[in-house]
C-alpha cells in the first residue's frame, strides 16, 4: 500500500478549520498537512500525545504509524522511510532525544530529510517528566558528534506548533537535513485556538527527485539540475538509481572514502555550507517594539510569552523595551542579533535553562552591548514580575 497525498481526505480527518487544540496535537496536524506518511515513535511525557495523535489519524489518511521499540529505532525507521520516499517524522523528549543523537548525525551525514519534534522537559536524565524546559537547545546543535549544521525551530504558541511543523518539513525537504521542532512541555501541553491554513497558503516544498539519466547521476554532489545549489537531487530507493548510502565519509558517488582527507573535507564542507550559504533565507524572527528600544529581550519558545508581558508592563512604566523572538533558532540569526546589539544598551535573554542560546547571543553581540542571562529552571516558566526585575521595574 503506497501512500497518496490527498489534501481533501487529510482536511476531512482533521475536521474544523478553527479548533481549540493541544500543542502536541498541533504538531500532528502540521505533519499531516505537510504530507507525512510515516511516523515512528516511542512514548515519553510530554511528547506522547504526538504519537497518540499520529496513531489515531495517520492510518486514516493512508499513512503508516509504528510504535518502535525505542527512540533509536524510531529515528532509524523514519530515516529509512525517507529513503523509501516518505515524508517522515518522530516525536520525543529529553531522554529519547539523547538516544537519537547517533542517528541524528547519520541523517545529517546522509542528507536525509526528516522531522524530529522534541517536546523538551527538564534534565539532566529523567528530570521532571511532566514539566517544560529549554535544556536541549544546544543538544540539537551540538549533541551528535562531528561537524554539522542544524536546523531547529522553536514554537511559542499552539498555532506555531502547527505552522512550524509544516515549515520544518519544508526546510528539511529543501536542504535535505533533519529538522528539529524544539517545543517544550509548556507549549506542548497548552491548549489554544488554532486555524488550519488553507491549501493555497501551504506552499509545501518537496525534495527534488533525481531525474537525470541513471548513468550520469551522481548522488552526493551539488544538484545536477539546479544551478548554484549544493543540495543533491534525491534518488528515492526503488526508482532505479541504485544508490549506496553510508554514514561513513563517502565520495560523490557515495562510496566509502574513510582514509581520504580531501573527500572528507569536501563532503562536510558541502553539507554544512549548503545551510550556512543560505543563512539569510533561513531567518525567521519576530520583532516586537524594537524600533525605539534601548533594552531588548532576545528569546524563543515558551520563554517569549512572559517576556512579552514584561515588555508591555515595562513600556507602561516608560521603559523602552523591545523583544526579538527567534522562531528559527538554528542556524542562529547572527546578523540580526549583532545589529540589535549595536542599537540597544542591553540584551536580556530569558531561557528555561542555565544559559544556552545566551552564548551565541553574547558572541554575536561582541561587546557592543551588555548581555544578561535570565535563567529559570525547575519546570516553571518565568513570571513577568521576575523578568521585570532585570529591567529595573518593581
Amino acid at each position: 500500500m503506497k501512500f497518496i497525498y490527498d489534501p481533501i481526505k487529510i482536511r476531512d480527518v482533521l475536521g474544523n478549520k478553527i479548533q481549540f487544540l493541544l500543542g502536541d496535537m498541533a504538531c500532528v496536524y502540521g505533519g499531516l498537512l505537510a504530507g507525512v506518511s510515516f511516523f515512528g515513535g516511542y512514548p515519553i511525557t510530554p511528547a506522547s500525545e504526538v504519537s497518540e495523535g499520529m496513531a489515531r489519524l495517520l492510518p486514516r489518511v493512508g499513512g503508516t504509524y509504528i510504535q518502535m521499540e525505542d527512540e533509536i529505532g524510531s529515528i532509524a525507521a523514519i530515516i529509512g522511510a525517507s529513503w523509501g520516499g516518505a515524508k517522515s517524522m518522530t516525536a520525543t523528549s529529553g531522554p529519547g532525544f539523547s538516544l537519537m543523537m547517533e542517528n541524528y548525525g547519520y541523517a545529517i551525514m546522509t542528507e536525509t530529510p526528516c522531522v524530529i519534534v522534541n517536546v523538551q522537559r527538564t534534565g539532566p536524565s529523567t528530570g521532571q517528566p511532566t514539566l517544560g524546559a529549554q535544556g536541549d537547545m544546544m543538544q540539537a546543535r551540538y549533541g551528535t558528534h562531528g561537524d554539522l549544521e542544524a536546523i531547529a525551530l522553536a514554537p511559542s504558541t499552539v498555532q506555531e506548533c502547527l505552522d512550524f511543523t509544516i515549515e520544518g518539513f519544508n526546510l528539511s525537504e529543501k536542504y535535505r537535513n533533519p529538522v528539529c521542532i524544539m517545543t517544550d512541555g509548556e507549549v506542548g501541553h497548552l491548549r489554544e485556538r488554532i486555524v488550519i491554513p488553507d491549501e493555497k497558503d501551504l506552499n509545501l516544498i518537496n525534495r527534488v527527485q533525481a531525474t537525470i539519466p541513471k548513468n550520469k547521476f551522481i548522488p552526493f554532489t551539488d544538484s545536477q539540475t539546479r544551478k548554484n545549489c549544493k543540495v543533491p537531487d534525491f534518488p528515492t530507493f526503488g526508482t532505479g538509481y541504485r544508490t549506496y548510502v553510508t554514514g561513513l565519509t563517502h565520495n560523490e558517488k557515495g562510496f566509502p572514502a574513510t582514509d581520504k582527507q580531501k573527500d572528507h573535507e569536501k563532503l562536510v564542507n558541502r553539507i554544512t555550507t549548503k545551510i550556512t550559504d543560505d543563512a539569510d533565507n533561513l531567518v525567521m524572527v519576530e520583532k516586537l517594539k524594537l524600533d525605539d528600544a534601548d533594552i531588548a529581550f532576545v528569546t524563543y519558545g515558551a520563554s517569549a510569552r512572559p517576556a512579552e508581558t514584561a515588555m508591555d508592563i515595562a513600556r507602561s512604566h516608560g521603559k523602552k523595551v523591545g523583544l526579538l523572538r527567534l522562531q528559527i533558532v538554528w542556524p542562529f540569526p547572527e546578523k540580526i542579533v549583532s545589529k540589535l546589539a549595536k542599537q540597544v544598551d542591553k540584551i536580556i535573554v530569558p531561557e528555561m535553562n542555565l544559559g544556552q542560546i545566551y552564548h551565541p547571543i553574547k558572541e554575536a553581540a561582541c561587546g557592543n552591548c551588555e548581555v544578561e542571562l535570565a535563567p529559570k529552571i525547575g519546570g516553571e516558566m518565568h513570571l513577568p514580575s521576575e523578568l521585570l526585575k532585570y529591567l529595573g521595574v518593581k
Binding site: 503506497k2 478553527i18 503508516t64 521499540e69 532509524a76 525507521a77 523509501g84
Partner: protein, 298 residues
Amino acid sequence: MVEIKTADQLNKKYLREGMWPTIFCNGCGHGTVLEYTLWAIEELGWDMDKTVFTSGIGCSSRLPGYINADGLHTTHGRAIAFATGIKAANPDLNIIVFTGDGDCAGIGGNHFIHAARRNIDMTVIMINNFIYGMTGGQLAPTAPLNSIATTAPYGNIEPPFDICNLAKALGANYVARWTVNHPYQPIKSVKDALAKKGFSLVEFLAPCPTAYGRRNRLGDIKKHWEWYDNNTILIEDYERIINYGSEKEKEEVKNMFPIGVFQDLEKPGFFEQYEKLVDRLMIKKNKKPVKKETVISR
C-alpha cells in the same frame, strides 16, 4: 538475457564495478554468504531496482556496498529498524538486511526481537563468526564458552546467544542456520526466506580467520573452514539424538551447532495486517454521515 551459469557471470550481473577489492581478509566467510544470496536472488528472478540491501556496522555489514542495488549502510545494530521504515514507505520493495553477530545479537538485539515479533516483511541474513571482526576480535555475544577474544583473554565465561532459537520463540515466519561450506541447502534456504512473507532469518556460521581462528588455534584457513563440518549437525539428527539417543551420542552432539530449517510458518506479515487496518478505517469512515462544519469560537 543470458542464463547465469558461473560465479563470474553472477558477479558481473550483480556486483558494483569500482568497489573492488573488497575489505575482506583471505579466508573470510562473508563473500561466500554474499554469493549464496545472489544465487538465490538470481533463481527468484528478483528485480534489482526494487531490492534494497540494508546493514549495520561491521565487516559483514559492508556487503551491500558491493552489490549494484540501493543500499543503506546504517549505524551499528540499527539496520533492522531502518529497514522497517523503508518497507513501510514502499511495501513493494524487497528488503534484505546483512548483519553480523555483534551487530544483530549484540547491540541490535532489541530491534531484531521486535521486528521478528511484529513479523515485519524482511529477510535478515546474520553472519555469525563468533567475534567482533571489524574492530579486531573483541568478545561477541555468540562466542562459544571458553573461546578467546581480545576482551576475553582468559576464555569466555558467558553462555552464548542462540539467535535461531530466539527468532523461533518470537514466532518469526522462517528461521534457518547454515554454514558457508556447502552451497546447495543454504541457497535454497535463502531463496525460501526471501520468498517468505513476514520476518525471515538465515544465520550463517562463517569463519573469521583473522580475528577468531588465529586466536582460537583453529589452524590455517583450510582447517578453519573444516571446523564447521566437524562441529555442526543437521537439526533433524540433533533432535533425534537428544530425544532418543544414547548417553554417549548425546555427549557427542552436546556442543555441536544444529543446522537446517528451524521454523517455517505462513503467518501474515506486518504490512498485510496494517493494510487491512487501513481498509477497515476507510470503510467505516465512508459510512459515517458527513459532518457539518461548526466553528468553535474562543
